[in-house]
């Protein structure tokens, strides 16, 4: 029994939310729906932790692998498995979903059942995306994640939801199209297979590498998002309901970074190296660009959205320096960003539930009526700009150390982004939390309830635990990333020696 369970853990992770959705359909009323959704997602979190505990850090290969033939004509399989790169992202997904469910508890009444079902659907799809070893499966579920998000924005979003939703879908579809092109290109070039393991052990002609890389890169860059392709994000983040923002910022963006790590680097090492200078500069630009834009925002959620762009700049910066500190820092940064930004969205969402305003100027002096919220908001704000002792510091620091092997000037500019981050976060705190209370409305606000505190406290604990003791996270990815870096270096060396000949 235990063995069977261990062998099918990922499928269980995928199916459990689906079962939860089925149960939701049977739920009598909204109360039951909430309980079912929360129960399912907590159980899922348990499975996620189980996955982490069962993961063997000494083994750099894929674990918990399952493989069944799905469409034999096209050589398509249902194949899933985790390694050090995807494990943390799966855990992050299972960690954030219960919090999303909790965030709907009192703030959402319109068609709650459907909303909860969508959350669970996204969760299931995300887990497949992060664990898929078959590119077709990956692509299909990549598409699936988009649809619930679209409806979340469209049906439960803010005033500008329609435009935001359409923009989101159009961007995503463009990305998907490019992804499809890239995957089909791989299928044709790589011997008519969708199997990741087989595809990653082949070498491709420089020309096809270039074009397939470009297609995949653009697809992931839109999702991440990198700077010229980012304009869907501020709208989608700010118009989505709290849970939607949390899923978007916390997990969905990571699909882009994960895509780079899973497909671009190992399959196209030469093309990656060729594109690296451009991507590194784009990353630095993204860090500063996001920071400056965040400084100019008057809308709390947009501010956090632009800060996400800045943080994602660190992710690409770390990935494309191709060394151990850089890549591990980038993965950690994705994980940490998932925690801090989600927490910020949750906190702002709790504020929004009370006042229905996202404008900074409507607040001021919140410390008096809402000391708990202000304390938690302060923790996540300082964590967001990478204060040492909080989780973001470790990730950003490693990325910077990694980047120092490429260029000092990039490091210096990226650090300028950190000052900007400190600037906009502290300025936001100063305007929102401190000072005199601006209105009677603010004075009459009630502080967080225990339930609301409980949605934020786990994240606050994670912020400090990871900031002070990140070793467990490095342990699981260390071997895998080392193998990836070595693989890239050896491919690079082969390419150079081939050139020499």
């Amino acid at each position: 029994m235990t063995e069977w369970f261990a062998n099918h853990l990922i499928s269980c992770l995928v199916l459990l939310p689906v079962v939860g959705m089925a149960l939701l359909a049977l739920a009598r009323d909204d109360e039951w729906a909430k309980r079912i959704a929360l129960g399912t997602s907590l159980l899922e979190l348990g499975l996620g932790i189980g996955l982490w505990l069962g993961f063997d850090a000494k083994n750099p290969e894929f674990q918990f692998v399952e493989r069944y033939v799905w469409m034999p004509t096209f050589n398509i399989h249902y194949a899933v498995g985790v390694d050090g790169i995807s494990l943390l992202l799966v855990v992050l997904t299972t960690l954030l979903t219960p919090l999303c469910v909790l965030s709907t508890w009192q703030s959402l009444h319109y068609r709650l059942k459907v909303f909860l079902a969508l959350i669970l659907l996204v969760e299931a799809a995300m887990i497949v995306v992060f664990t898929a070893l078959d590119l077709f499966l990956f692509f299909m579920l990549w598409e699936v994640t988009m649809i619930p998000m679209y409806f979340m924005i469209l049906l439960w979003g803010g005033p500008g939801r329609i435009a935001a939703g359409i923009k989101f879908v159009l961007y995503s579809l463009t990305g998907s199209l490019l992804l499809l092109i890239g995957i089909l290109g791989l299928y044709l070039e790589g011997g008519r297979t969708f199997d990741w393991v087989m595809l990653s052990h082949q070498t491709y002609a420089p020309d096809s590498q270039f074009w397939i890389f470009l297609a995949l890169f653009l697809a992931f860059a839109i999702k991440l998002p990198m700077v010229p392709f980012h304009s869907w994000l501020p709208d989608a983040h700010s118009e989505a309901p709290t849970a939607g923002s949390v899923i978007l910022a916390g997990v969905l963006l990571k699909m882009g970074g994960y895509g780079f790590l899973r497909f671009c680097l190992p399959i196209f090492p030469e093309a990656s190296a060729q594109f690296a200078p451009l991507i590194l500069w784009l990353s630095v630009i993204a860090i500063l660009y996001g920071g400056y834009n965040a400084l100019a925002q008057t809308d709390l959620k947009k501010l956090i959205a632009y800060s996400s762009i800045s943080h994602m700049g660190f992710v690409t910066l770390g990935i494309f320096v191709f060394n151990n500190p850089g890549i591990q820092g980038a993965i950690l940064q994705m994980f940490n960003h998932g925690i801090t930004t989600s927490a910020l969205f949750l906190a702002v969402g709790q504020l929004y539930d009370r006042t229905h305003s996202r404008q900074i100027r409507d607040y001021g002096g919140l410390q008096k009526p809402m000391p708990r919220l202000v304390m938690l908001l302060s923790i996540f704000s300082v964590a967001s700009f990478g204060l040492p002792g909080t989780c973001n510091f470790i990730g950003e620091f490693l990325v910077l150390v990694g980047a120092s092997s490429k260029s000092y000037i990039m490091v210096l500019l990226a650090m300028g982004g950190i000052v900007l981050a400190a600037g906009y976060m502290l300025w936001m705190l100063q305007r929102v939390a401190f000072g005199q209370m601006v209105s009677k409305m603010v004075a009459s606000l009630s502080d967080l309830t225990h339930r609301e505190v409980m949605t934020l406290v786990p994240l606050a604990v994670a912020v400090f635990v990871i900031g002070l003791y990140p070793s467990p996270l490095f342990e699981v990815m260390d071997l895998r990333v080392t193998a990836l870096v070595e693989h890239m270096n050896s491919m690079h060396a082969t390419a150079i020696s081939a050139l020499g000949r």
Binding site: Q367, L398, I418, L426
Partner: protein, 727 residues
């Protein structure tokens, strides 16, 4: 045993923080009961550590691995040597006093718990900073200290000015931190380790290595990597120690409750920069440029801070600028390689400033509690000012007292150093003596008789329920401070010897000269003494003659306004950095992000929609649809033509013609053949076939004609069909 002791020194304040922070509401009243014992114990343990280090030398302790990625390792651990121990004594000692003092001073404050939690954390991070074994730890606690200062400065967070001050302090420090962080990263990239001792050992051998900073634009600008590291580390020190370009936060930090000022100015924060420069001394000494920068920045700050202090009307701000100036002095000493002197000055200054600030807090509170504060002060407050005059006297560098041994020896070194610019340095040193004496004395006079032209001393808090500090505590403070300083003074030789192991290996050529001989030292002392007296008299003179006189003269007035406005540095920063940054952010957001990128994407959509509409209207409706319609119309026309022209006129008429002609033929046949030939023949037979003839008579000639016509038509059709099928 020893590792436990060393570990406990930082962990006790940390424990105090944890207990106070998570201790619930009870801590709103009893936070000091946790804080004071912990800090006092830490102080006691620091004394123990002093003894232990003197006996066995430096000690390294590692706790756990913070980061382990590939070959990059960061271990959280402690490094304790002579320098660390001396600073530990200062930090824990002052912090203990501040805790005791605050338990009265902050009594009844609504954020009592938060206050004690944060000062415990503040102390903890400073302790960890001086004990850090590697550069990452140094950076971590450097930053944690920054956020603690943020929390303390914004203690009265209802006041917008306090919040602004806190944000300003943090951001100015963040600029410094970027320098420090960048220095640390370049350090790792160069030495492949974060461990300070390893870096310092290897630093001199790396002095000749250069790095090209403009490689990314394809240019060549080689910079010595050691200089690069040292300068960037120094930027961090400039920020924390409030040195010249980044000094703007320090006066604003006065928004914090007074005990915090004592903590910031005497024990933590500002000392961190001097500590950093002293700790990394081999690195700095490996680069003469970096040393020169340190000296110049230090000298400038010493002078500038002193001048700014001259015009302040708020006693706390006078003290703030005096700190800035004094720390500048220490940096100045570091720039000469006179590290032991700098550290000695740091210790003495720390003890002094703590004493001064705590006394000030008391005075200011008395002012705050009286309606006509300044006037009554002379009568009521002076007896209670406690240690203030003593501290002031000491600060003003009166030769037989205190700090003199530090700065004067430093001055002497300045005068004998081989640097060409030593006259300048010497001059700056002496001017600083003059200015210091001036502003200190002025401050003292201001307490007795209110400053003219200036505003009244500002009241630093709005929280209620403050208590005066009772005279016994003040007496203890005064006597304690005096004693400490006396002890320090007497122990200069000892401190110098004690610190020798830390700095001996790095002694610069300037510091290596033999002990000053008595004659030279005497000359320097006499000059300094005279200058100090000049300073006093200036202070007295200007306090007697009102500021209005001063302002009436145009150039005096200019200088006065220049200094009163803090040299316009704040305004310059606002104009040069803050406003442009915000403007740029808004421009970037509105013009680039929304105006160009977002609108670009949206216009892409609009263009698509327009293209679709064009496709529909022009291509689909007008092109294809019209073509098809035209085709349809054409077909109809064709059909009509076919029917009218071909069918009706051609075929039908042909057929009709054919019919008519057949009819004619038939008629002809009937008339000629039938009637004449056949009829006649028939007639001949007729008689014989009368019955037949009668039958034929029944047959109507028209019917026959019709049948014939149909037959011919069908024949023609069949023939045409056969023709078409065959060919």
């Amino acid at each position: 045993m020893s590792t436990t002791v060393y570990g406990l020194i930082p962990l006790l304040p940390l424990a105090a923080f944890a207990v106070i922070a998570f201790g619930g509401r009870r801590m709103n009243q009893y936070a000091h009961r946790v804080g004071i014992p912990c800090l006092a114990m830490a102080f006691a343990l620091s004394l123990l550590a002093l003894w232990h280090v003197q006996a066995v030398g430096p000690i390294t302790i590692s706790w756990y691995r913070l980061i382990h990625v590939g070959d990059l390792q960061v271990t959280l651990g402690l490094f304790v040597d002579q320098l660390t121990v001396l600073l530990l004594l200062l930090v824990t000692g002052v912090s203990t006093i501040v805790h005791v003092y605050s338990s009265r001073y902050m009594h009844g404050d609504q954020r009592y718990r938060r206050f004690f939690a944060v000062i415990a954390l503040f102390t903890f991070s400073m302790i960890m900073l001086v004990m850090s074994a590697n550069l990452v730890m140094l950076y971590i606690f450097w930053e944690i200290m920054g956020i603690c200062s943020y929390l303390l400065i914004s203690h009265y967070s209802e006041r917008p000015s306090a919040c602004r001050a806190a944000t300003k302090a943090f951001l100015v420090n963040a600029v410094g931190s970027v320098g420090l962080g960048f220095g640390v990263i370049v350090c790792y990239a160069t030495f492949r380790t974060f461990d300070m001792q390893t870096v310092l050992e290897r630093a001199p051998s790396m002095a000749d290595h250069t790095v090209n900073l403009l490689a990314w634009v394809g240019l060549d600008w080689p910079v010595s990597v050691v200089t690069l590291i040292a300068l960037f580390l120094f930027i961090g020190a400039i920020g924390k120690s409030s040195q010249v370009p980044l000094h703007v936060w320090l006066p604003y930090a006065m928004e914090a409750p007074t005990p915090v000022s004592a903590l910031i100015h005497a024990a933590t924060m500002v000392n961190a920069g001097v500590f950093l420069v002293a700790r990394m001394s081999p690195l700095f000494l490996a680069s003469s440029r970096a040393m020169a920068v340190v000296a110049v920045v230090g000298a400038t700050t010493a002078l500038f801070g002193g001048c700014l202090a001259l015009v302040q009307s708020d006693i706390k701000k006078i003290l703030a600028y005096s700190t800035m100036s004094q720390i500048g002095y220490m940096m100045f000493a570091c720039g000469f390689g006179a590290y032991a002197i700098a550290i000695f000055h740091l210790l003495a200054h720390g003890a002094l400033k703590a004493c001064l600030f705590l006394s000030t807090g008391n005075v200011v509170q008395q002012l705050a509690s009286r309606p006509h504060g300044a006037e009554s002060l002379a009568h009521h407050a002076v007896p209670r000012m406690g240690s203030m005059p003593i501290g002031a006297l000491l600060l003003s560098l009166i030769p037989p007292l205190v700090i003199f041994s530090g700065p004067y020896e430093q001055l002497w070194i300045g005068s004998t150093s081989s640097l060409a610019a030593h006259w300048v340095y010497w001059g700056i040193g002496f001017i600083t003596v003059l200015v210091t004496a001036w502003y200190v004395f002025r401050g003292m006079l201001a307490l007795v008789s209110p400053l003219e032209g200036g505003t009244e001393p500002q009241v630093p808090h709005s929280g209620g329920g403050h208590h005066w500090i009772s005279p016994p505590i003040l007496a203890v403070l005064g006597v304690g401070g005096l004693l400490t300083i006396m002890v320090l003074m007497a122990s200069w030789t000892w401190v110098n010897e004690f610190l020798n192991p830390v700095f001996v290996k790095v002694r610069s050529p300037m510091a290596a000269v033999a002990k000053p001989d008595a004659g030279d030292l005497l000359v320097v002392l006499v000059i300094a003494c005279l200058l100090a007296m000049v300073g006093w008299s200036m202070a007295y003179r200007f306090s007697q003659r009102s500021h209005r006189v001063l302002r009436s003269r145009i150039w005096h007035h200019r200088i006065y306004m220049f200094l009163l406005n803090k040299g316009y540095v704040d305004d310059l920063y606002d104009v040069a950095f803050v406003t442009p940054t915000l403007r740029f952010a808004h421009w970037l957001c509105r013009v680039v992000d929304w105006g160009m990128i977002d609108r670009g994407v949206i216009s892409l959509g609009t263009i698509s929609v327009k293209a679709a509409r064009w496709l529909w209207e022009v291509v689909d409706l007008q092109g294809i649809d019209r073509t098809i319609k035209g085709l349809g119309r054409f077909s109809i026309l064709m059909a009509r033509w076919l029917w009218q022209v071909v069918d009706l006129r051609g075929i039908d008429r042909t057929v009709t013609t054919l019919g008519t002609s057949s009819q004619g033929l038939g008629k002809w046949l009937w008339r000629r053949v039938d009637l004449r030939g056949v009829d006649q023949g028939l007639e001949r037979i007729g008689s014989r076939a009368e019955e037949t003839g009668e039958t034929l008579q029944d047959l109507e000639p028209r019917m026959l004609q019709h049948h014939l016509l149909v037959l011919i038509f069908w024949l023609a059709l069949v023939m045409a069909l056969v023709f078409w099928l065959v060919f």
